[in-house]
Symmetry: C2
Subunit: 209 residues, 2 copies
């Protein structure tokens, strides 16, 4: 006990945090596994706005969970999101997480084509011969490129987690991907981030079988 | 142009974002380099609460910038924060970033001593024969252990970025570290995260010489 700080065992902290979040949501609930995702986004950010902003296409969370259990891979647009994903848990299902952002050839290709590295990364993900969940935590251009690839029938994502954060083109890119005809989980508006993209992946990985 | 989304060059996006943030802050300003840190936290989270919550001890941001320019290292409590730090820029000043969280011996020692891995990681950082900035984005126990180490005169950090996020012991651990007698940058309250810890480091690295 130091200056009134009670020692709480690490495994207790998460349990108690979730209880506080549930209590402060004041009776609002979602069907599972959506509710777990809402709570985990709040747990990661301490920001209750996610309760209002998170949008799920029909059955998106369940479809995501099922894809992960079939061994779907996750493609991210940031190393931070990649770092935050529980890759040990993902591997138990046969999945892997990829981020191509720091690959030298991606930077080179983006420069040549005058597009963003994130757009090129989404193309790499689309070219994988695997079921793919795209987890976007930073670049609206990643969502825009995914939208185009879907229209061109070059990719059919198991799920798109569309959580870029920011002030320029972010709101618009999220609205675009919500009209792409594929399963999505999107925190509408400006908010999001690599931490949110990663925590949504983890929430789906932690759903009890 | 796709569904009303204007193509903005990547280097323009950040500039425009910062203009929007400045505008929406409605005339509120801080002395530099604090202002850059406030803006970058909002840029990373799209959450204007950081304007109200960020606390700086006297000259903390300037002291952090100076330490980085002398080649200070950064020790984080999460791989996500480590991932988010611009290590290329850090290396230009002779610095490095360390995160010991996934080291096997750290897990082993934490288990034996019945403490958290984050607490052990802070001890590893304190034992470095370098000037150290601690960037904490997750574990209140990291801040509590740092407080103890400071009291025991086992470490004298150049700066503590105290930005854990959450609902249990987070608020209290932040208040504790703000009374440790060392330079700090702390988003008071529940909010924070690895993204915030990393972005505060980057804001200091990007200060123009």
């Amino acid at each position: 006990m130091l200056n009134g700080i009670e020692i709480v065992r690490p495994e207790e902290i998460e349990k108690r945090s979730m209880e506080i979040i549930t209590q402060e949501l004041g009776g609002r609930t979602w069907p599972e596994p959506e509710f777990s995702i809402v709570k985990r986004c709040i747990h990661t950010s301490a920001d209750f706005d996610y309760a209002d902003q998170l949008c799920f296409s029909k059955d998106a969370a369940r479809l995501g969970v099922e894809a992960l259990r079939r061994g779907a891979v996750i493609v991210t647009d940031t190393k931070m999101a990649w770092s935050g994903i529980n890759k040990k848990k993902l591997m138990e299902y046969g999945g892997e997480a990829y981020c191509y952002m720091t690959d030298e050839d991606v930077a080179k290709e983006a420069k040549q084509r005058e597009c963003t590295r994130a757009a090129v990364c989404m193309e790499r993900g689309a070219a994988l011969d695997r079921e793919v969940i795209f987890a976007v935590g930073n670049a609206p251009t990643a969502l825009i490129r995914l939208y185009e690839l879907i229209q061109e029938k070059k990719v059919s994502p198991a799920l798109i987690i569309g959580a870029p954060v920011g002030f320029v083109n972010v709101v618009e890119a999220k609205e675009l991907i919500m009209n792409a005809g594929v399963p999505y989980i999107v925190p509408r508006g400006r908010k999001g981030g690599s931490n949110i993209a990663a925590t949504i992946c983890n929430a789906m990985l932690y759903v009890k079988e």
